[in-house]
Structure formats: C-alpha cells, structure tokens
Symmetry: C2
Subunit: 106 residues, 2 copies
C-alpha cells in the first residue's frame, strides 16, 4: 500500500572549502531524526515514510530542505524544532505549514 | 515551478557482514548515473528532478529501488540498462514500465 505521505529530508554534506550552504551543516541530520522520532511516537510507520536524501537542489542559508510527496510540498530552512509542527499540521491534519514553504514551489 | 517528475534512486550501502541486499551493492550508483545521463541528453533539467536517496525500505535481491513522484510509481530490481526505457516510456510519454513495478505499490 502506498504511504499517505513520503517525506524526504536532505542531509547532503559538502566539503568545508565550498562557499555553498549544505543541509548537513544546517542540521539536516537532526531534522531527519526529529521526523523519525515523531513517527515512532505516533506509530505511523505504514502511512508516513521518511527517507534520507542527498541534494534536493534547494540549498537554504540556514536549516534543511524537506519535500513531501505525493502533494509536492517543499519546505526550506527547516530546523528540528519545526518538525513537530510539520508532523501535526501537515502529515496528520493535512494542512501544510505556510511559513516554511518554498514560495517557488507553492 | 514544481518538476513534472521527481525520481529518487536508492544507493543505500550496508555493511558487508549483513545478509540483506543493498541498492549500492546492486548497482544503484550506476542506475543514478544512467538517469542523470538520460536527463542531460534530453536537457530536461527543469521538468525531471533526480535525487540520490538512502534506504527506501524496499530492498530487492538484485537491482535497485526507484520511486517516481508525484505519481508514486515504485520500481524494484532496476538496472542501469532499464533506465532508458523508464525515461522514454514513463518520464517522457507518461506510461510507467509495468514489468519493473513493485506489485505492492500498484
């Protein structure tokens, strides 16, 4: 059965000598862990998939990039402290968190 | 603008002492490269996104796992030699390649 939501969290790491931000340096690993913790707490293993990804092509100056399918909601600048809100509002109640959405993908 | 298709290719690596198959050992890296080459050859950078992912939770005994959103088409056992067909039939013509689909996700 297809999941209701499939969350991809960027944890891409760049070499320290590049000028570009990277989601690994911006806490992407903590964001991933926060999604996994929220899912475990709610027992939603079958309806919410969470996958660690490499570069999603959107590299915010702070925080990590997250995309949720099949709806195609792109979040940028996500911090671990934002994940409980994304989980409750979007993944459970179906209402994406407007303040974190990438305006280029709305 | 949202891409028309977003392809995630599993390249997850497991330690050599596990009994489980892994997409890295099954040629996932070559599958990823094949998607990138096809996209470059067609110049479809804006309409087809290709992202390298870690474990998608489906671990075929041979070949790699690929999921395409927003349609949620799951392919299993994909080899680099399958990618030209997936690209032409599915990503360009909109007709998923039935023989490679995971029957649990149809």
């Amino acid at each position: 059965m297809k999941p209701r939501h499939h969350v991809f969290v960027c944890t891409n790491r760049r070499s320290a000598d590049t000028q570009m931000p990277s989601c690994a340096a911006n806490g992407g690993g903590d964001v991933l862990e926060a999604f996994l913790r929220e899912r475990a707490a709610r027992g939603l293993y079958r309806t919410v998939y969470v996958t660690q990804s490499l570069c999603l092509g959107v590299c915010p100056p702070s925080g990590a990039t997250v995309v949720v399918y099949p709806e195609g909601t792109w979040y940028v600048g996500v911090r671990a402290s934002d994940v409980a809100e994304i989980f409750a509002a979007h993944l459970v109640d179906g209402l994406p968190v407007a303040r974190l959405r990438d305006p280029r993908y709305v």
